[in-house]
Point group: C2
Chain length 197, copies 2
């Protein structure tokens, strides 16, 4: 239909607020099936019409629903496209990392992460040592602190971020972010990591 830009903090928050309510979520469910008039929806959800109107106004503000008028009946329908594109872009790492723009502690690392991740996946391992370390640090952080992973399990987790899992494993060991013994891998405490692989 049309692409929506990646939503920013305020947008995302507003979006969650809109959906974080029992009545509104039910309304969306109803509207996913077909259009409904305000009257109908009020009856189905056992709410008064003004209440429904109020909820629809919120959803309309965010373009999650659209309205058409026939005589003095207002028919609402869901804007699937808005919903989908929102949920799609929502939880990719580079986007989540961007959430903290205002707070941001280590802006430098965030910037690197954002630039190397795309649609939730690592495009390529950075060539420079410093950047590579940032990316690896983030990745190793996706693993459980105390768990011992079989190689297969480790691959499972890693391949969700990058195809070349063998290189990732090797780099982890190189930086001493992980250790291996008899086919099992586990994380090392951060103080033990090396600066150079």
């Amino acid at each position: 239909m049309f692409l929506m830009s990646i939503p920013h903090f305020e947008t995302l928050l507003a979006f969650f607020k809109a959906l974080a309510n029992e009545s509104r979520l039910k309304l969306i469910g109803l509207l996913a099936q077909r259009e409904h008039s305000v009257e109908e929806m009020a009856a189905l959800l056992q709410l008064k019409e003004p209440t429904v109107s109020h909820h629809l106004a919120k959803l309309k503000q965010l373009k999650l629903v659209e309205m058409r008028q026939d005589k003095n009946t207002h028919f609402y329908r869901l804007n699937q496209a808005a919903l989908q594109s929102m949920s799609k872009a929502m939880f990719t790492p580079e986007h989540i990392v961007g959430l903290t723009a205002d707070v941001d502690t280590d802006g430098w690392e965030s910037k690197i992460l954002r630039s190397y991740f795309e649609d939730g996946r690592l495009r390529e391992l950075p060539a420079s040592r410093k950047k590579r370390r940032v990316v690896l640090k983030w990745l190793v952080n996706q693993l459980d602190q105390d768990r011992r992973y079989a190689e297969k399990e480790l691959n499972q987790v890693l391949k969700q971020f990058h195809a070349d899992v063998a290189t990732l494993r090797r780099e982890f060991i190189g930086y001493n972010m992980m250790q291996r013994e008899r086919g099992r891998y586990w994380r090392m405490p951060e103080v033990e990591w090396r600066t150079e692989a």
Copy 2:
């Protein structure tokens, strides 16, 4: 990693409630970068520790964050997998339609939609006339009531649900759900639709 079952109404609502808050969303942003102690997060967000603790408890309940303890410092980290799988399954049509289970008006149509849609896409056009009509009805409802679509635009919208857009277009015309003239398509009011194609 592991598959999560499709969340149901209560789960989904709880999930949105968890994220529909400025502080919690920022926490998630922070934790997406690396693990943090409660103290750190309180400082970064300019909140008191009990407040942060309280928010983390909510996120922990939903397994969105995990905690590891070192001495008496608690380190929290994000459970990316939970977040991702939640957002992924979230807004597929067959799931949204399922939201209204308790309310449900036309359970029969919903059931059909759920069974023919998978991951947001139409698996195949039902063979039986009655079922096909339900699916087409839903699809045509994704279009703007009053807009006139160029064939290309129409395809754009439709292909997001099904590859064989030519058949869909033909069926719409057949059921008189849409009309065409000089390469332009538009929706017909529901009263004009035919029962048989």
